[in-house]
Subunit: 198 residues, 2 copies
């Protein structure tokens, strides 16, 4: 067995999320046995992405260019700004909804214990943007976790300071879910926030 | 969002086994958000492995050098030769057992319908090796599937033609398994191959 290169490859695969020793081995063998071309493409795409993908100067999402395609687009509604924690959240919203406004990606959430404050999340540049007066609604789509909720409250305050209307994604029972299996917190919230049927 | 590079990366991750669109997205974001160094290392390891790992001229296992470390080693027992289907099988045996002999990696199994015959598995070079007279036992460790069994029978014939003793891994109830959950074929085989207790 080729000790070094193969072992290095198996070790390197373990940086991927959810990949342990066994999976890394399987990936390495799979690529070497059946997917050399794909492996070559992956190596190139990964190298290029790691070197050349930075952050959009305006929304902090990943971007190869100084301004990302969404921020640079003339077709988006500049009156709505949706704040998300991560690029993956932004993508999920973009794919699931018909939202045509702009985004702001925090790349994290307020977490004072980890030293993540407003500055680390780029909230100074968000404040400057709200001060411009173009944004009318700040859609706060941080995760419904303790830290995400704290971040949402902070963002709502910031919005109100600049005369911008803050809104928050609806929480409740997921569509297609069964009440029996919904967690207590969600069910309690959904019950309290019930709305009259038309 | 950076359309091209990020999308290329997500697409490229899908060559890995068991990785679909969602997992590929998660991997790409994980690397970009938190593991740029690891991503760089993976790109390099993958590029180097795909370009430089070939096959050992003697055992057909993966190797960076013409002869792999095991085949080149003076510490291995040259009288035993263990035939496996894949490098992963070879690694599993090497890690689980105290086997100190040599290996021969078929890189497949006999499968006439797919056009995989003795030549594709390198059985001509295996025959030449058996003819050298150094090997006394051919340990046949192909998988217990229909094709693996057919391959095993072929290999056993080949061994006998050269006066080499063929042997096969024991089949039966796995250690720690419960009879209730063992499949019928295995149970029937284990029952028929029962041995007297000492």
């Amino acid at each position: 067995m080729s000790a070094s290169l193969l072992e290095q490859l198996i070790e390197a695969f373990r940086v991927l999320p959810g990949v342990g020793q066994k999976t890394a081995q399987r990936m390495a063998y799979h690529v070497l046995e059946r997917e050399r071309d794909g492996g070559r493409r992956l190596a190139e795409a990964l190298g290029a992405a790691v070197e050349r993908i930075g952050h959009c100067a305006r929304c902090r999402d990943f971007s190869e260019t100084a301004l990302c395609a969404t921020c640079a687009s003339a077709a988006r509604d500049t009156h709505s700004l949706c704040v998300v924690e991560s690029p993956a959240d932004r993508l999920a919203i973009e794919q699931a909804t018909g939202y045509r406004g702009l985004y702001f990606v925090l790349q994290g959430r307020l977490s004072p214990l980890d030293g993540i404050g407003p500055r680390e999340l780029g909230l100074d540049s968000l404040a400057a943007r709200l001060a411009e007066g173009e944004v009318r609604e700040l859609i706060i789509a941080t995760n419904p976790t303790v830290e995400g909720e704290a971040t949402a409250h902070y963002l709502a305050q910031l919005a109100r300071q600049h005369g911008v209307r803050p809104s928050r994604l609806a929480h409740g029972v997921p569509l297609g879910g069964e009440l029996e299996y919904v967690d207590r917190g969600t069910l309690s919230h959904a019950f309290g926030s019930r709305s009259e049927m038309p």
